[in-house]
Structure formats: structure tokens, C-alpha cells
Symmetry: C2
């Protein structure tokens, strides 16, 4: 059974098809501007070069956006959460299969503490408003603790493909921020993005099973792009390694194809992951899933920051 | 039962211990020279900078050592072997678990064709003779076909640890060459080495099971260094990514701790792997294994090139 409203037009069909396809993006990359404009806004934080780069590649790496003290405070809060037994028992917690250590914790942006302060901080939210051309709210947030030595790869995916099919996000008008708390080098499994891939939508065959999120957060089985489409996206664009010291923020467009290799080095990677969505792009019913995902994975209350 | 001769002194004990340890290397890095000398030999191919670098880091990356035509010919020969059903049935062949495609093929240095010619070519063998200070022979050879998208990581190990315990190689007087046939970037799982780690021997707990090589070539379970020792080696040295275009040759000392991350990118990695051992360092009985490994993994006939 599907809850999809038949009267809706699905501009980005996926998981309703039997063969993969690559089709052009139907939404602007920079919103609320004249078409093709990458001019800075008078009150916006991003300059012309940053805007042009984001428009072209879908990725913007900004070193030094957070200072060392702020990074240390966020890092300490993660230590505290990771040591708290009750945190590991929350539904928002994802544990390492082998050790039961905390791997990820969702919905940190309403903690009343440093992560909520971070989500509301204009240093991030102004960038999101600049890119999305409207007020914004937090669609999803989590902290990620990626261990050294045994860090597993995360295969290629477009976040939008999941947010559209499973959460009912109608348009490509959201941006993710990865706030780096440890050094991200090329060798310890940094975010890999296919620059330019945000201008194409890769439709994935398969059908979303019930309660897919219970295992997809560990290993995704539907919504996985095919190898031929991935190779084609790399040919049309290029691979970009998002590296930088602690305090760097990586902004990436919701439809950028991205993933990460595993990490055998001793150097762990920690980040805070925040997704801003436009208040004009509120979630509807899922486009290709039997039911909504929990609120802690996909916020449905649109409260502008 | 062990075939180890009790009268021998084992200078590098491993797999006979219950706790890991890091002890100093007992052999020179550059052989057949005055102690501490990194001066070039009058007839040697390596210059003072290359020798000093290899002595210090254990790794030497030489771009452009093979020309494009030579690379193309080696690549074509791998294509031919990979397409040959009878090759996949040889004991020398290692197949991909999921697809039965050829992953590695051992003992290519006596093929009477391009790989034997490569192993005998002074462009490589002269470097090995320069480093090892004697005539050399091929201890092991193989071709590796590492696919894109699903390339698995290869965890940290010292080759010497295995060659000593399982093959009876007495001293650290061998050098490996990885001849790159495809571009090796930081993002497609290149060789990662811990520069400087060749000056330390990491003893690994555990005991070699019978016929260990039948599964260890897919995934090693003994001879695996512990995380604390690996972190310590990185602190004492540094991580080095061995990248370069096709035709690059990576020379690395037999005791350098190395491994590689997985590879989710579309770009495969192919290489020819050759190990030169000094004729003065012939294999004895295994130091910590119940039986010798097959000749196609560890050559016992010492025939100088």
C-alpha cells in the first residue's frame, strides 16, 4: 500500500521505476534570485566566487568558520553523550554493530544546548538563507562519530533521493552542513562528492520496504544509484574530496551525489551534520514509501530559525 | 606441530607471543654499505636524495619509470588473463568472492612473457640490487585487479612479518615494487604506508593455523598488528599516500607497515607487484607456521636475475 496522493505530479520519480535513468534537475541551485544570477546579496555572507562555485559544483568548503574553542566545546559534548548509557538506548541513537559504541545520534538540534545553539547560529543559518532564498528550518540533524582503524565506507547516494521518496520533500531546496570537529584528510575517509552531480537526478529502481530506515541508516539497499550512472556523473563532473582542519564547514546541495571511503588509519572523524530546508519546501507525504519516517529523522514542524 | 628448528635464534618473534610489542629493527635498511651511508653507488640508479628518503621512510615513489607503451602492453596482458577461464582455475588465481572475476594472479614472473621481462628488466632489478647490496631473485609476484565501486580495504600489515613467520625469510633484506598501471589517486584506495615504520618490528599475538594462506589472501586474521602499536607507529612517523599516474613504480621496504582503504569511486586500480629478495637472504623453514606455503607464493629456488 502506498500513501502517495495520486493527484500529485512527481517531478523526480525514483523507486517506482524498473530501470535507472539520469534526468536534468528541475529546480534552481541558488534560490530566490534572477535565473542564472550568482551575484552576492547585499546582506548575504557568501561572495560572488563562493556562490558561483556552489552553483557549479554543489559543494562549498569553508575553512575556519568555527573557532577552536567552539570546536572543543562541541567535541566535549559528544564525549559526554557517547559515555551516557541512556543516550545509547534512545531511538535516535545508532550504535556500532560490533561494539555497541555510539556511531550517530539524530535530532541534536533541539537539545537546548550547544547543538541547538549551533543550528541557530547565523554563521551557518545565514549561509543557508542565502543559498535557499527564504527562511529556513532544520530538516535533520545528527552527530557522527566515525572511528579510526575500522571506519566503514558509505556508498554513493543523493540525500534528496531519500528525502523525496521517503520523506516527501517536494523540491531540491535544501542544503546540508557538515561541521568538521577533527581533521579530515584525504586518507581518513572524508566526504567525497561528485562535483556537478547536483544538476542531474539519478532515478533508482527498487521499492522502499516498510521501516526501511531501521536498516538503511546502517546500510542502504534501495535508493542506491547504479554503477553506469555514477561513472557518467563523474565523466560529466569531477570527484571532490572535502578535506580541512577542525572548524571547517562543508556545505553541500541536497542532490549532490556523495559518499565516503572507509578509514583504516588511526585518525577518527567526528562531525555535526545539519540540514536546512526552505520553509517554502515543507515535507508532504512520501513519494515512494509506505509510511512516513520518524520525526527525529525528518522534521515535519516548519518553524523558521 | 612446528617445523621450526629449535637451534635457530628468531630475531623477530611473532605469532609465538601472547602480547604485542614494538622492537627496533635489527637489520640495515640500505644493505652492503658502510653503516649510515646513503651515498650513491657509482653504478647504482638511485641518487643521494632517493637513497636518503628510502632509508628514512622506507618508501620511494618514482613517477614515469615505465613508458605509456609498456604500461599499455602489461595492461593488455592482464585483460587477456582475466578473460581466460583456465587462468581463473589455477591455484595461483584469487577470485572475487561475489563475481568470480579475477582479483589477483600469483607467480607471473615466470610466464615467459611480459611479466617475466618486467621482473628481469634492469629498470626495476637495478634498483633492488642497489638497495639490497647483492644479487637478487624474485621472492613473490602477482598482478592485482582492484575494481572500482566495490574495492575492499586491505588492513595494515608488514609483509616481512608474514614472510618471516610463514615463509622463513630470516632478515629484512627484501624490497617490493608496485608498478601502477592505472592512475592512483588519494580517493581510489592507493597504497598507504606509515613512513618510518620499517625501523620497528611489531610482534603480533596469535598462532598461524594450517593452510592459513588459503584464506589470509582474502582476509588476514593472524599477523594483524594491534591498534595501539599502529597509532604509535604513526606518531613516530607519518602517513604517506603512494599516488601517481600509470608507469609510476612504488618501491617499499619489506617491513614498512602498509595497507589501503577501500574504493567506492568508479576508477579501478591495477598493478603488478614484484618482490625482490637478496640472494643472501634465502628462505629457511617458517619461523611460526606449521608448514611451508606453496612455491607460487614464496619462491624457494634462489636463481639470481
Amino acid at each position: 500500500m502506498t500513501v502517495t496522493d495520486d493527484r500529485r505530479i512527481d517531478r523526480y520519480p525514483s523507486r517506482t521505476v524498473t530501470t535507472p535513468s539520469i534526468t536534468p534537475r528541475l529546480d534552481p541551485v541558488l534560490h530566490g534570485r534572477p535565473e542564472g544570477s550568482t551575484d552576492p546579496r547585499p546582506d548575504g555572507p557568501l561572495d560572488a566566487e563562493q556562490l558561483a562555485r556552489y552553483e557549479r559544483t554543489g559543494v562549498l568548503v569553508v575553512p575556519g568558520l568555527l573557532g577552536a574553542e567552539r570546536v572543543a566545546a562541541l567535541d566535549a559534548e559528544i564525549d559526554r553523550l557517547a559515555a551516557d548509557e541512556s543516550v545509547r538506548n534512545r531511538p535516535q541513537a545508532i550504535l556500532e554493530p560490533e561494539s555497541d559504541a555510539l556511531r550517530s545520534l539524530f535530532e541534536v538540534h533541539s537539545d537546548g544546548g550547544p547543538f541547538e545553539a549551533l543550528a541557530r547560529d547565523p554563521v551557518l543559518a545565514d549561509v543557508a538563507r542565502d543559498l535557499l532564498g527564504s527562511d529556513v528550518y532544520v530538516h535533520q540533524s545528527r552527530i557522527n562519530l566515525k572511528p579510526g582503524f575500522r571506519g566503514k565506507e558509505f556508498y554513493w547516494h543523493s540525500d534528496f533521493e531519500t528525502w523525496h521518496t521517503e520523506d516527501g520533500m517536494p523540491a531540491m531546496r535544501a542544503v546540508s552542513c557538515s561541521v568538521l570537529l577533527t581533521p579530515n584528510h584525504s586518507w581518513n575517509g572524508p566526504l567525497l562528492a561528485i562535483a556537478g552531480s547536483h544538476k542531474w537526478f539519478v532515478s533508482c529502481p527498487g521499492e522502499t520496504p516498510a521501516n526501511h530506515h531501521e536498516q538503511s541508516l546502517r546500510r542502504q539497499e534501495v535508493g542506491v544509484p547504479d554503477e553506469a550512472s555514477l561513472a557518467e556523473l563523474v565523466r560529466r563532473g569531477s570527484l571532490e574530496e572535502c578535506v580541512g582542519p577542525p572548524g571547517t564547514v562543508v556545505f553541500f546541495e541536497c542532490n549532490v551525489m556523495h559518499g565516503s571511503n572507509g578509514n583504516i588509519t588511526p585518525e577518527p572523524r567526528r562531525n555535526v551534520f545539519l540540514v536546512y530546508n526552505s520553509v517554502e519546501n515543507a515535507l508532504e507525504e512520501p513519494y515512494a514509501a509506505p509510511a512516513r519516517r520518524p520525526e527525529y529523522i525528518a522534521t515535519r514542524g516548519v518553524v523558521p530559525i
